[in-house]
Each structure stands twice: as structure tokens, then as C-alpha cells.
Symmetry: D2
């Protein structure tokens, strides 16, 4: 029988739960050359860690993440911690010879991202792999979109419109850590624009070469400090919009906001090309809209494709018979299946972003901030 991939997880919050679920589910649904084994979970706060480990099936637990680096049994480490510690942990883990799967965005700063990319490059020489959890790539609808584009079904790309609209940042929301730069790095930009930049780059297969303009705005600067009646200052963006060009000439708009009240999780992208168009919205994550221009004026129009048919849509066949829809967490499980395949030297269902790839997304995030700050267009070649 195949030797399992001994795996560790650092983190026990929202992402810790989502990733733990993927580790528990993946071998039930996917036939993997080497399934993962849940070796150790590490987290700073020990109070609830034993219960967390038991609930999710981690064999061991520790409050010292460096134990994980030091443990020779462990092959793969999943870094599901806040952005500002990604670099320190990932680099140490790579240097200790682990494969590393890191939460997105790659890092809190471009400098951190650059260092992680360099570490990944060094580790690659010893066969170590890196992965970044851009989970939305693994929705079956996105997988189908990716394949249609590779099959040249939309032709030359003219236009990308990507938005990530959320609602939870209104004036009633208190001053939690996510509204403080020292803890969160940025607001909607790093959290949400990171996802749609990754999706746009992944789907088009093209790099962004210029930012034409950007605006970052903090609408609600004064928020109630939790547990008090006093007000404190929010110093992260509530929304960031920017315009960009791709290498092939396509233009794009990106918009991330936490104050779009009717939208819960509207991670959406539309791509218009010479021969066809595609549209996705995570709130309807099982659907892909596809317009095939060859359907003609008389009979053409957005097709509403349910991406639940086994065999055709990436990952769909692993789950249920045709026509049974998937949810949010399945993206992580789908990705973990591909991570396990790559570690076992098999082909993933779809390309997985590594640190090099995620570094390119980080450059775009940085260029947009520069553009907003300097009130000018910014060429990506200026941001390294």
C-alpha cells in the first residue's frame, strides 16, 4: 500500500478548520497515489488545541511550530497562519526540507514575498514543492473555464472585469484586528483582490504589465473598540479599485470591497474574448456562464452551465453522481488532492500556484497600492 504523506498544519482558526476538513476528506473522495496522514497540528494558543486535534483527527499537537520543522517524519506542512508570519515559517520549513502549502496571500509585504520566492527556488533544487491556497481555482466551474480558454474557445482576450464584493464591513462592525494595519497588513486589498488577481492570471494565462490607476478608500475611519464604548481608528482600506492591462493587450478592472451590503461573497469574474466570453460568481459557484460567439446572433447568449457532471468538469467526478452541487470547502479538498498528486510526482488535475506564481500576484497587489499612492500609472516592470 502507498506510503502516506505525513502532514502537519500550523493554525487552528477559520483556515485551520477548513484545511483540517480537507485533510480528513480528501482520501474518502479521491483515489490518491499517496494519501495524507494527519501527523501534527501546531498553534500558538494551547488552550483549545487538544480538543481541536481530537475533533479533526490530528495525531499530535504542539504550541511550538518549530517542532514541526524539526520532526523528520513530517513531509508536508500547511501554513494557515496570519500573513505576517508566512515568511518566517515557510522559509524555515523549506530549509528544514518540508514541502510547504501556504495560505494566501503569499505574504504581508512584497519583501517577505520576495524572500519566500527565493527560499522556494533554493528548496526546489532539493525537490521541495511549494503551494499557495488560492482555493477558488478549484471550483469545478473555474476548472471548466480554464480548460475552455486553453482550448481557444474564447480566443484573444479583450476584457476582464473582476470584483470581490463583501458586506460585513459596515459602520456597525467593531474595530476587530482586521481593521488595524499592524495586524492585518491591508484591508480588502490583500484579502480579496489577491483572490481575483490570481483568478484573472490563472484563467487568462497572461501576466499583468501595467496598472493604469487605483483608488483605495477607508469609508469608516472610526469604529467601536470591542468590549468598550470608545471609538478607535481603522487604518486599512474598506475598498480598493484598480485598472490594469495584460501582456496580450486586454484591459481589466478589479474591485474589492467590504461595504457592498447585498453581496455576501461575490467573487466574480467576467472575461470577454474575440470568440467567446466566460462569467463566474462564487455565490453561484456551481455555475459557469459561457457565451460561444459561434452560436451566432440569432441563437447565441450566455449559456448557464451546471458544473456538476462527472468526467467533464475537473474534480466533479470525485464527489457525487451528476447534478449534485458542491460548496465552499470542496475547493480546499480538491486542491489538497492535487497537492498530494504533485508530491507523489503525478500530474495535478489543474496547475497549482507555487511561491513563484503567488509572488507575481503579490507584485500586482503592490503595484496597485503604488498607483493609488502616487496618483500615476505604474508599470509592473518597476515593481520587483
Amino acid at each position: 500500500m502507498a506510503k502516506p504523506i505525513q502532514s502537519a498544519l500550523i493554525g487552528q482558526k477559520f483556515m485551520g478548520r477548513a484545511h483540517s476538513n480537507a485533510f480528513g476528506q480528501v482520501a474518502k473522495f479521491f483515489d490518491l497515489p499517496r494519501p495524507p496522514a494527519l501527523h501534527t497540528v501546531a498553534a500558538r494558543d494551547g488552550a483549545e488545541l487538544a480538543a481541536f486535534a481530537e475533533r479533526w483527527g490530528w495525531a499530535n499537537h504542539t504550541t511550538r511550530w518549530r517542532d514541526v520543522a524539526a520532526d523528520p517524519e513530517i513531509e508536508l506542512v500547511d501554513v494557515a497562519t496570519p500573513n505576517h508570519v508566512h515568511a518566517e515559517q515557510s522559509i524555515a520549513l523549506l530549509e528544514a526540507g518540508k514541502h510547504v502549502a501556504c495560505e494566501k496571500p503569499l505574504a504581508g509585504t512584497l519583501a517577505d514575498a520576495r524572500a519566500m520566492r527565493a527560499a522556494a527556488k533554493r528548496a526546489a533544487k532539493k525537490g521541495r514543492k511549494t503551494f499557495v491556497w488560492f482555493n477558488y481555482r478549484r471550483a469545478p466551474a473555474i476548472g471548466l473555464a480554464y480548460r475552455l480558454i486553453r482550448e481557444k474557445r474564447i480566443g484573444r482576450v479583450y476584457h476582464v472585469r473582476a470584483t470581490y464584493l463583501q458586506s460585513w464591513g459596515g459602520p456597525g462592525t467593531p474595530l476587530v484586528w482586521r481593521f488595524q494595519k499592524k495586524h492585518a497588513g491591508s484591508g480588502a486589498h490583500g484579502d480579496l483582490n489577491a483572490h481575483i488577481i490570481d483568478l484573472a492570471r490563472f484563467l487568462t494565462g497572461e501576466e499583468i504589465v501595467e496598472i493604469h490607476g487605483a483608488v483605495s478608500r477607508t469609508f469608516i475611519q472610526s469604529r467601536t473598540i470591542p468590549g468598550t464604548r470608545r471609538k478607535g481608528r481603522s487604518d486599512v482600506d474598506d475598498a480598493v479599485l484598480f485598472l490594469a492591462s495584460f501582456k496580450g493587450g486586454a484591459v481589466a478592472s478589479f474591485e474589492a470591497t467590504r461595504v457592498a451590503a447585498p453581496h455576501q461573497n461575490a467573487n466574480s469574474i467576467e472575461i470577454n474574448g474575440e470568440k467567446g466570453s466566460l462569467r463566474f460568481d462564487f455565490e453561484d459557484m456551481n455555475l459557469l456562464r459561457f457565451h460561444d460567439a459561434s452560436d451566432g446572433d440569432r441563437e447565441g447568449g450566455w449559456r448557464r452551465i451546471m458544473c456538476t457532471s462527472a468526467g467533464n468538469h475537473p474534480y466533479a467526478e470525485a464527489w457525487w453522481p451528476d447534478a449534485h452541487i458542491l460548496g465552499y470547502e470542496h475547493g480546499f479538498t480538491n486542491m489538497l488532492a492535487d497537492v498530494c498528486r504533485v508530491i507523489a510526482r503525478k500530474k495535478p488535475e489543474l496547475p497549482i500556484p507555487d511561491f513563484e506564481d503567488a509572488y507575481q500576484t503579490q507584485r500586482v497587489l503592490e503595484a496597485a497600492l503604488l498607483s493609488a499612492r502616487n496618483r500615476t500609472a505604474v508599470k509592473l516592470s518597476e515593481v520587483r
Copy 2:
């Protein structure tokens, strides 16, 4: 620590997988007074049973389901077998003192259902519980609809339109067992109308009192016998439509079909009442449409409610932070959480159908068939 509910499962096909998944997931997401323990899986076909048990975490496996009935450790048995064996197994299990959770529809015939109901009544005196897996009751959107109706937000019910539209039964589909009466009992009717009858009864809280007319049709009578080039005869319905009245005077149409090509899994229901309306479609299972007539002509209209907010929408808080959508299989997990609560003498989040309840649904199925056969209206009081 709470004593787990030692549980067994009979069946290893599609439903066996879906239920096994629920047994594996439920205690990870729900804090239960008594979580289930995966004691034994039973199935006729032993060839793949050991692998199935290992994959899904069942401690033991057997090809004789009566072993399960005989095992004094086991408290709860999940019957996920074909309809025609539900009665024999469920009755034996109840008589052996087990709680029984049976797949829907309750049985292949009304006589079987009647016997099961009687057995459940006897077992109830000894504290044994019965449950039927009408899983769609557990979509958070259906839960919210149920509560809005209980809060009298739609008032007197005028109208119900329920459809369950699938696409897989076209002329290209071969003569699998589902198209043969001796194996399947019926076609779309027992499989699909059972679900929407249950939803309509559950949501309105009213019983159906009359069938006004019905039509059953087999569009494709000749199908290719699998593995051959010969044709054989399909003798089950491809579609059944019927009209009904509820006790409070509401009228209703029901429609189940396997030859509605653009629909994958369109289990949908719309309820129009004096003060408001509700609409649900399983293809968008995280959404509920609600029209509150008090919004007025000027500002009123269908509201598109994302049922993903913790605390408000039944079951949503168990899963992920707000705004992360759920999928098909979560319905089973949500239901199993309620089954465990009931066995532990706690209140379920929402009412669970027992054999008595599912027997009422079976009577409606039967009355519709009678109406189609006799070309007359049929009062439910005539069908017992």
C-alpha cells in the same frame, strides 16, 4: 464524556457513501450531546466492502445485515438499501430494539409502508425512534422558509407549485435497473415526487386531502439493454404530474420528470400565500426567494436571500463563517445531527420525518397513481 451512539449502516452505493460521509463529518461540525460512532457497515456484496469500511471509517463490516440487528452494542441503524427491502429490514431492526433511520421513500408499496408505520408505533412504546432521510428539509434555505411560515409571514397558503426536473432519462440512456418496475417500483414518481410531496407537507404544515387528476407517462419505452445491442422494454414512468388540494384549501401542482434536458436537479417549490411568497430551487440551494407583501407594490419584489448567515439560518452556524455556501451532502450531515439530538432526548433544530410522517407522503404517492390509473379525482381519505 458523552457516550457515543453506536451506529450501523446497511448499504454501500450512492446513499451508502452520502450517509457514511455524514457519519464522519457530523461531530467535526456540530457539538452533539452524543456523537455517533461508526460501528458496522453491512452490505450484500462483500467484494468491495472491506475497502468501503476502511475508506469511510466503519470499524466492522458484514455481508449479513441481520448481524447488525443481533448486535446488542448497536443503537442506531441506517437503512440505505433499495426500496423493496426497507420494510423487512426496518421492521426487524425495530423489533430488535434499534432506532432506525431509513432512506426515502419509506417503501416500494403502500402495504409495506403501512407495516413499517405499525412497527414504528409498536417500537415507539419502548422508546425507539424512526427517521426517514428526506434530506432536502435540511438545506438552510428550506429551514428558513419553514420558520418564516411558522411565524405567519406568508399567511394563508393559496398555491403550491413543486417540480423536480432531471435530465438523465433521455432516449440515449440504457435500460438500467431504474427503468424496470420489478427492481425500481416506479420511475420519477417514487424517486422525485416523494421529495417534493414531503417538502410541500413539511413547509405548509398541512396535509393533502385530494388529488384532482394525474398523468403518468413513459415517453421512451424501448431502451438498449446494457452491454448488448438489443432493445428491452422500460416499464416505469418517465414523468408523473398531478394536482392536489391541501386541507386549508390551497391548490398545488406537482411534476416529476427525468426528461427535462436543461435541468440537472431542479427540486423546486414555490408557495404563494396571502401575506407573502417563498421560492426554492435546489440548483441554487443556498438561496431562498421571499416576497413580503407588506413591502408594497412600490418597493416589493422577490428578495434573494443568501442563507449562509450563522445563527439565523438553521444549521448555517455549524459550518463556516457567514457567506460560505454549502453543497448537496451537507443536508445529510445536518439531518444526522438532529437524529443524534433526538436519540439523546434533545430538541432537533427542525422536525424530522418519522415513519408515520413518511407514511402520509406515501399515501399521496399512491393516491396520485390511482388518479392517473382511474382517470378520476381521488380523496386521500380513500387511500389507507
Copy 3:
């Protein structure tokens, strides 16, 4: 220059306005072999008639509709009066040698309809034409659906689901004439089901051969008498549902209601066939949904077709450049263009229902009422 078709209109209410608008607009948008001339408007109530005639451009007006029959200059008479006078007026006009365009439904009773059909047959021998204003046939989206079906794009028809849902008949609506049988004949059935029966027959090209069951319901029996605080009795249906079969074996459900609060004018039809499916909803009247099964599971799904492209969609080219949407009243203008073409012995863009055709729709209305009353299925061959 072409000799105009001297035309008269009987009626000055809602339909009088809608038809007058069509008479005023048709020659501005369509190049007709013989455009209509607005010769005379007749209506019982003379108080506002002169103003009506001036506003809409009718050259003459009279309170005696028989003047119109007697006037030798008039070729075409449009009967836009209440249902119970259709027969008397239309028959007299046909006997006077006029072409007659009558509002739908053809008549208030089957006996009236039968007499009108006979009169039309006699008049046809002298070259007189009859037309019935089933205006929804003339939405460009319906025209495209008609053509796709004729081109065998959906193949054998399996299923029709037609609903006409309105909201205005709630308990707050007073006892206007529409709720009194002696004035209105019937409620939702004659008003709304007539439209969807016509659409279903028109699109499929098949006749209905059996009613499998029906239910008629008056939910609100007591309504306030307008201008008083007293209550009176409503004796027409608020909703009628029925099931039917077409000659080719397709099954169908029809539903008309005035108490579906979130729906304004949801005249909708879905047709599922062996090779494709079509869906239309008048609330989105410029759209046709089309599913071409040959798009396959991987890439297929409802196509959202904007029916606004000149040349492809019937009537669209008469109006504006591509992509400019039409509204409710355009259906009447489109139909009048075809009426004028037929009178000028040219081919209409699409078939127009004549009295024979509308009589078939009337038989279906009658059969559904019989089925509801007798609580049995009814074969259409029994209703003549």
C-alpha cells in the same frame, strides 16, 4: 399608392387604447402593402368618445356599433368589447361583409364560440378573414421559439409547463365586475389560461386531446362592494389549474392565478423536447431561453437569447437597430401588421389565429371546466 384598409374599432377601454395605438403606429414602423386608415371608433358610452377619437386619430365616432356594420366604406372591424358581446357583434359584422379582428378569448361560452366559428366559415367563402388578438404570439421571442420548433430544433415534445401568474386579486381588491360571473364569465381561467393554451398550441403545433384533471378555486369569496363598506360575493375562480396531453403524447400543466403576489404578469411557458428545450416569461419578454441538447453535458445549458436582432427575430427589424428592447404594446402592432398583410393577400410573418383556431382553444377551456366540475378526466373529443 396603395389603397388603405378602412378600419373601425368597437371599444374604448384598455383594449380600445392598446388597439388604437397599434392602428396609429403600424404604418410608421412597417412597410405595408395596404396600411390601415382609422375610419371610425364605436363605443356604448358617448361621454368620452369624442375625446378618445381625437386623441387616437379616429376620423369618426359613434355610439351605435351597427353603424359600423352598415358603413360600406369600412373593410376591417376590430371588436375590443367584453366577451359576452363578441358573438353578436362579430357574426353581424361578418354577415355585413367585414373582416373581423376579435379580442380574446373568442367568446364567453362555447356555444357562442361555436356560432362564431360557423359564421367565419360562411364568410370565408366570400373571402372574409377572421383574426383573434392573441397578442403574445407576436413577442419576437415567441416568434423565434416558433421557428426553432418548426426547424425541429427541440424534436419530439415531452413536456409543457405553462403558467400565467398575476398578483392583483388579493383580499384587498374590491368586488369589481371582473369578480362577478354575470359580467365576466369566468375569472383567471378565461382571461389567463386562454393565453397560455393558445401559446402552447401555437408553439407545439399540436392539439390537446385530453384533460387529466383540473381544479378551480375561489380563495376570496367575500369582497368589499366598491364605494361601500358592505361585502358582496365573488363567484368567479381566482385560480384554475389543469393537466393535459397533446396529440403527440406530450404532457402539460397549465396554471392561471390572480393571487400570486410576487408575479405581475408572469405569462410563462417551458417546453422540453427530445433535442432541446425552450422557455419564455413575459416579464422578460425580450428574452428566450433555449437549450440545445447537442451542446452536450459539458458545455450545454440554458442560453439567454436577447431577441432584439433585426432580421433574425420576427418583427424585430421593423423597430429599432439591434439590441433595443420592445414592450407590451408592440405585440398588438406586430399583429396588426400581419392582419393588414393577410387582407392584402400577402403572407403574414407568423400564422394568425382565426376563429377556427380560437375555437379550439375555447374547447380546451371548456374541457378543463368540465373536468374540474365532474372530478374526472375529459377527452377533448367529448367537447364540441
Copy 4:
């Protein structure tokens, strides 16, 4: 009886037809203090002018537009000519004492617009009115949105996303005049962005104060010269995107394109505010989406409002009974009703843009072009 407003029209192309239709229809549907009389139509090309005048009911016609300026009977002149002649004609007409209703955009250049605004200011002293045909303000759904915002139902505005997506400019479209700068001035920018800038300013009631960045792109530079097989150069934009801020701090993205194949006429705007949100798409022009944040997380969501109820939605009552949808051309008729009211010194249903107002839109168009050209942000105060 009221003295009619003697009116003239310059232009007989697409806009000439649309405006002529409005002149013919307005007094049929609206009770106006002073209805328009169709005095004269002027157009350069005399070949088809007589037929045009007869078809649409213009009493006189001329190939010299200055005849219209000179005719003392004429009070109102509608300028429906290409952008580059708007200034010359409008200024001369104003100086001749006419009220002027000019097609949008106000002019082909900012200098022209500035001169027109100055002429309007001078003429205003003598009581002359100016109007600009931003017809989309007159969709009932936009009217309702306007009123909801004035009633403070969405509160402080955070975000505007406006797109105008069309499909007709793909590589197969030949080099018609619209692709040549000397004839058209600009491409999608002046044609489409003008509309959505006007809508955004109108709805929010706020001015744009800064352009944060812009990109203008000509995707298809070489097109077939009509009637030849040779290629010529297109020198106008196929798409222009820009980001902006409003005075109150709201951020906005604008996007106009002619190469978005699945979109016919997607003039859409979404406005997110502190208390609510609004969304409109001209392809569903009878609908307004409204999210009232006070509906709460549990029950809130986009409401789909059919804007067809008389009395509530501006203009709806003039047309048909409730629930009958309007089309493209009704916007012109609705606007003309307001133009007639203003000339008769009555209050319009909704504010009409005059030359001053349209000049502000022109400044935004210009600022966006400057931003794209200079690769910097541009403050509106720099553009006069």
C-alpha cells in the same frame, strides 16, 4: 384649448426616428398642458425626407436647418444630428429664440460644449430652455431609484459600478464612420460612457471630483472598408475604462466597450450605500434591484422590483394598467412629456439635464481621456 408647442426636428436617422416617435406618441399617453405640434423636420439629405415627414406626421420639411431657426412659428427645436454639429446648430437656434433639445453627448469636444453652455446661459435670461436627450433617466426603474435615493433610503454612497457593454464592434464589423475619429469624435467613450456618467451623476446627485486612472484601447485597428476588400485603420477607442471619486467620497468604476459579445445593451449601474443598494441593467429595463439593509441579514437580499405599477413609478401610470412592460423608445416619450411641461412652466416628473448639466458630464469625459493620455490621476477642477 391649450396652444400647442410648435416643434421642429433636425435629423432623420436612428435618433430622428426615435424622437419623431416620441413627438407622435406623447399626447396620446400624457395629458399635457401644451402638447407638441409636429411643425417641420429638417435634414441634409432631401432624397427621403418627404417620405420621412409623411410617415411620421411632420407638416413641413426642409433641407436647410437654418429655415427652422428663421421660422417665427417654431418654439422648440430638437437637434438630433451628429455630435460635431451640435454646437453650431444649438447656439444659432438659441440665439434665434428657440428652446433647444439636443441629442447626447452635448458635443464632440469640450470647447464646443463650453460654447453651448455659455449660449444656454445667455438664452436663459430670455426664458429659453435647453434639454439634453439622456433618455435613460426616463426608464421608470431609474425614476424609482432616483426617488429612493432622495428619500435617503441608501444613505451615504460608498460605491458606484457602471458599465455600458455592447457587442457589435468585433473584428467582423467593417470600417463604418463610427470607427473614424474625424466623423465620430470618439468610440465607446463619448457614445456609451456619456450615458453612464450622466446616470451616476443624476442618481447620486453628486459631482465627480477626480479621475484616478483610465485606459483607452483600440483592440481592432484594421477593419475592412465597406464595399471593398481593402483594410483601413480604425482610430477610435473600442473600450474605455476609468476610476473616479465623487464629492462625498464615493468611489466609482466606469466601463464602456463595444466588444463584449454576450451583452447587447448592458447599460448597468450599481450603487452601494450605507443603508441600501440599487442596481439597474437596461437589458431588464423594467426591473430595479433594491437592497434595504434594514431588512437584516436573516431576511434581506436584493429585491426584484417590477417598475410597472401606476402611481408609484414615474411615468408608469401614463401607459398601461399595472404590470405591462415598457420598451426602449418610451424613454424618449417620457422625456418629451417633461420637456413640454417645462416649456409650459410646469414641474417635470423628474429633473431634465440642461446644457449646464450635460457640460459637467462632458468635463468628466474629457478628464478621463486626459488621465488615459497622461497616465496620471486628474482632478476635475483642472478641466474647464
